[in-house]
Structures are given as structure tokens and as C-alpha cells.
Amino acid sequence: MELIKDLPEVFEEFAEQRQNSFLNVKKLKEQGIPVVGVYCTYFPQEIAMAMGAATIGLCSTSDETIPDAEKDLPKNLCPLIKSSYGFAKTDKCPFFYFSDVVVGETTCDGKKKMYEYMAEFKPVHIMELPNSQSPEALELWKKEIIKFKEFLEEKFEVEITEEKIREAIKVNNNVRRSLKKFYKVMANDPVPMYGHNLFKVLYGSTFKFNRAAIPAEVDAVVEKIMAEYEVEKKIEKKPRILVTGCPIGGATEKVIRAIEDNGGVVVTYENCSGAKSIDQLVDEDNPDVYDALARRYLNIGCSVMTPNPNRLELLGRLIDEYKVDGVVEVVLQACHTYNVESFGIRRFVNEKKGIPYIAVETDYSQADIGQLNTRLTAFIEML
């Protein structure tokens, strides 16, 4: 596949993918394709894909509906939870509106309690995610995946065969391979593109319904980027930043902007908008397809896990591979697990990797842009 469009246009297309999918989801419904709304990286997408359903991320990223959410939920709660609930309740999110079923996991306290209220006005299937990665936890998670499969079979009166699941695994692994190849271009110094464009593609690709078409498209983008990079290095060398912590997107892209408008460049994202949800493949050779899925998803290094060694493993690896100069952790207001874990992450980054670390706490408002700019500029000045 060859790209005819210029790169800036390609990046913008990815950025607009979420908006464009609002229209596409309606078309899918008209074709009778089931839509499964999801909230989390732990969601075993391959199960839904195996029955031909479209999956769509429902995590909301704007503060528009927070006042509505705060009628039911406490003010001092994570903005992602409040905003997601708000969009659901006010029916302002077309993805939520068109979802036949919504799947939630027992991840953090705020989310799992919020789902109880959401279930009052939408069919919500809850998967019980263990909070550790022990053998017992793996067994439970595998059962939960099978239970989810049976739930879909019953609700949509279909059969989800192992063969179909295997096919879906192959498709998704290919997506992961191509996205990894894509973000790997940022290992170059100087970088071939800004981290904000990297983000747009990673984030936008999660809203593409035709998963099988992603690799060819992303590969073409990589080719174009590297071809242009060979000819000319457009971006000078800058301090290289790794972003970790809570999910970002929409309103919280202000953090990326604050880094890149003030002299830095984001070379990699460890959070679930980036490597966390892409890095590991599902084992295609495992004869037990449910075991393969359970292992792959349970191993995700989110702060809801205790202990959480996989986050450190991935962080350490990314810091080395991407020659990172400094780590920026984004903590969403009132996200206890990431906030508590930040002390350990600081220690790891400072002491084990020997580079500076800063945590910024923020929400979906734009009120703290001045403070974010000052903190992050000072952080970059210090590198």
C-alpha cells in the first residue's frame, strides 16, 4: 500500500478517526453488526471479534458531562470515570448509544462501583479482573473470559468457535506488530515526528472497526515517515520524554502539548494509550486458546495490580530502547492506584535508571495549563 497523502494530513485523519467513527458506527448497526462498548485495556477484544462484533472504546476524554455525572457521583473522583458515566447517562456519546452491550472490568474501585449505577440504564457485563497475577488469578481470569464468551453466545444467539478466536488472535497480533513497528521509529535520535502525531495514530487506530485493515495502513505510514526521514531530519535533537501513568487523550493531550511546545519531545508512551496495550502478543501456539488470552491480558502492568512488576519491566525496557532523558507521569485527579504507585515509580526511575522524573496531577479542565506549562518547562530546562 502506498500513501498518496502528505503525512500531516495522515496524522490528522487518525486524529479525526474517533469523530468519523461516530458515523460509521451507525452504518454498522444498520448492517446488523453487533457493537460491544469497552472501557479497558484488560478487555479480551478477540472474543468479541470472533463473533463478528465491532468493539469500541467508551472512555470519555472531555469535561462536558462531568457536572451531570456529579449529580450521582462524588466530586472528588477520577475525571475519566465521571466523564464516562456522564456521557452514558446523558446519552451524548454515540458509541455508548449504539453499543448493544457494555463490558466493564473490576479494575479500580471508582470504576467498578460506577458500573453498578450504569447497569441501571444499560446492559453491562462485568468481568471480574483479579488484582494480582498469581496462578489462582490466572485461573479466575480464564474462567471470566470463557464466561464472557458464553454471555455473548447467549445474548446474540451465535456460536463463538475456537477457530474464530484463533483467527481474531492472528488479526490482532498483526495489528500489534504493525503498531510496534510504528512507534519504534521514535527510537531514532533526532525523532522523525513529534510525539503528538505518534499519539494521534496510536489513539486513532483504536477507533478503526476493520481491524484487519490496520497493518497495511500503518505500515504505509511507517514507510513514508522513514523515507522522508532519510531525505531530511526535520526535527532537531531535543530532550526525550517518556509519558507514563493514567490513560490520556482528548482534554489531557494538554500534557503532550505542554511538553512539546516547551522544547521536549515525547518519544514513547508507556500508559494504556501506548505500549502497555500493544507490547505483548497473544501466544498463537498455545493449544488452549483461553489460557493464551488470559495470560496475555492478565499480564498487563496497570497500577490496579498488586504487586505490579510488569509496569517496571516495560518502563525500564522503554527507557533504554528510546534513550529517554526524563519520565513524565500523568496522574488523573483522585486516581489512587497510580497516585500511590508514583512514589515507587519515582524511586525506580531516579535510582535504577538514573534519570529525572516528574509527576503531574491533572483533570479534564483546562484550568491548570499555566501550571502544567511551568512545571514541564522547568523539567525540560533541567534535562
Binding site: D368, G370, Q371, A378, E381
Partner: protein, 263 residues
């Protein structure tokens, strides 16, 4: 070396620190000037005033032999600056001069409080209080206002008072706490001591989140207060030194960086 000296003597290096409450200006090189003025409601207007005052003193910011670095929250308003640098980096540079080397800088500003670690001449880490006026100069200003006294009077009164606890972390709630103390007829000096204790506790808490250097200095609007520094030392169990020119730390650092960060 000789040439360098000559250059310094013929140049003016201007550091301008537009804080939320006060704007500080330091000139090094050919001229040696230092002044402070209230920021007021408009950083833009303050900037014009600064320009005029500098001109009166014989420093023309537009001239070839003047280099200007702006810092502080209003730094972008200084349209004649050659370079804009954050207050963290500038405070660290200025603090290094005041401390005579590596140090931990505790800066209690009008709108935020910063703790900066300077190691081998550069910033190695820093912390700022988050979106809250507790533990800042603003807190003291509001409470002094409520007690009907100036900031200096607040410190003087506090020295003779027996501190009463102010437990609210929020400035607005702390103010109502004080109002109820006033209603109960408690002594003004006791309330004043409580107010300062509350700020000291917040600042100490922030500072103790990081490992401090051997030398700890106080900068910002309260930096000259021996009383505040001694209270803070007591709370932290470490010696925090007051600095006579601490409120100029940011501007001083900016003036040094004006010379050093030439391109």
C-alpha cells in the same frame, strides 16, 4: 579573561521576575540596580513601568548591549525579553549565588511554594504545591487582612503569641476558622502565631518529600524573616537559613542566565 571582564562591564544583564504579587528586577554588569514593585492587576502594565524605571536609571532594554531574561508567572508578558526561562531554573541559579553553592531552595511565593534541589550547580529535582494557596504568601496575606494588620505586623504579633491550631487546609475554610476565633475573643497574637504555624507546617511537609541538601535557604517574599526561618527549621529539624536578598533570587538568577545563556 580580560576581554570577558571588559564585556561584562560594558553590558547590562537584566533579570525580571514577574511574580503573582511582586515584580522584582535585578541588573548586573555595567549598572548595579535592584528594585521591586507590586505586580498589580496587569503584568503588561507592570512590564511597561519596569521598562521606564530602567530607562530612568540609564538602562535601555532595547539597546544592543542589554540582555533581558524574564521569569515568573508573568514572564510571557515581558515582550522585550531576549529569553524566557521558568522561575524554577532562575531561582536555582539565583539561590546558588545566595547560598554560595549547592543547596536546597525553599521559595514561598505569593501564589505557589517551590522546593528546588541544586546539585553541582544544576536543578536535579523540584516540587511545587498543587493548585492550592495553603502554604503560600497568599494565605498569609488573606489572614493578615482578616486580622486587619499588615504582613510585617502579623510576624511581629506572632512572636509574642501562643499558637492556636488552625486545622483547615483550605484557605477559605481556614479564614472561617479564624473568624470564629475572633468571635470567641481569642488574642490576636495567638491567632497570628497559629496562622504562621499553619503555613510553616504546609511548607515543611512539601520540603520533606525530598532529600534536602546540607544547606537549605529560604527565598521569596518571606525570605528575610528570621522568625519564619526559625519556625521552619524547628518544624523540619534542619537549619533553614533566611536570606536578605531572597525575594530577588528569581530576578538575580535571571540576570545571571542573561549573561550565561547567550546564543
Amino acid at each position: 579573561m580580560k576581554e570577558d571582564m571588559w564585556k561584562i562591564m560594558s553590558m547590562n544583564y537584566v533579570g525580571i521576575d514577574i511574580g503573582s504579587t511582586a515584580s522584582k528586577v535585578v541588573v548586573r554588569g555595567k549598572n548595579d540596580i535592584r528594585f521591586v514593585l507590586p505586580t498589580g492587576w496587569s503584568s503588561k502594565e507592570t512590564t511597561i513601568k519596569i521598562k521606564e524605571r530602567l530607562l530612568e536609571a540609564g538602562v535601555d532594554v532595547a539597546s544592543e548591549d542589554t540582555r533581558v531574561v524574564a521569569t515568573g508567572y508573568g514572564r510571557v508578558a515581558v515582550d522585550f525579553a531576549d529569553k524566557v526561562i521558568t522561575e524554577i531554573t532562575c531561582h536555582a541559579r539565583g539561590g546558588r549565588e545566595l547560598a554560595g553553592g549547592d543547596c536546597t531552595i525553599i521559595d514561598v511565593g505569593g501564589q505557589d511554594t517551590k522546593v528546588i534541589q541544586v546539585n553541582q550547580g544544576v536543578v536535579t529535582d523540584f516540587l511545587m504545591n498543587d493548585k492550592c494557596s495553603a502554604g503560600t504568601g497568599k494565605f498569609l496575606e488573606i489572614m493578615a487582612n482578616r486580622l486587619g494588620i499588615t504582613l510585617n505586623e502579623l510576624f511581629e504579633l506572632a512572636k509574642t503569641g501562643e499558637s492556636i491550631p488552625i486545622s483547615s487546609l483550605c484557605t477559605v475554610f481556614a479564614e472561617s476558622e479564624i473568624i470564629s476565633y475572633i468571635g470567641e475573643g481569642r488574642a490576636r497574637e495567638d491567632i497570628a502565631a497559629g496562622v504562621i504555624d499553619s503555613v510553616v507546617a504546609k511548607v515543611a511537609q512539601l520540603a520533606q518529600r525530598q532529600k534536602s541538601a546540607e544547606k537549605i535557604i529560604l527565598t521569596g517574599g518571606l525570605s528575610h524573616s528570621d522568625y519564619f526561618a526559625s519556625k521552619l527549621s524547628e518544624k523540619m529539624g534542619k537549619n533553614v537559613m533566611p536570606t536578605e536578598l531572597g525575594r530577588f533570587a528569581g530576578a538575580l538568577g535571571a540576570a545571571y542566565l542573561a549573561e550565561e545563556k547567550r546564543r
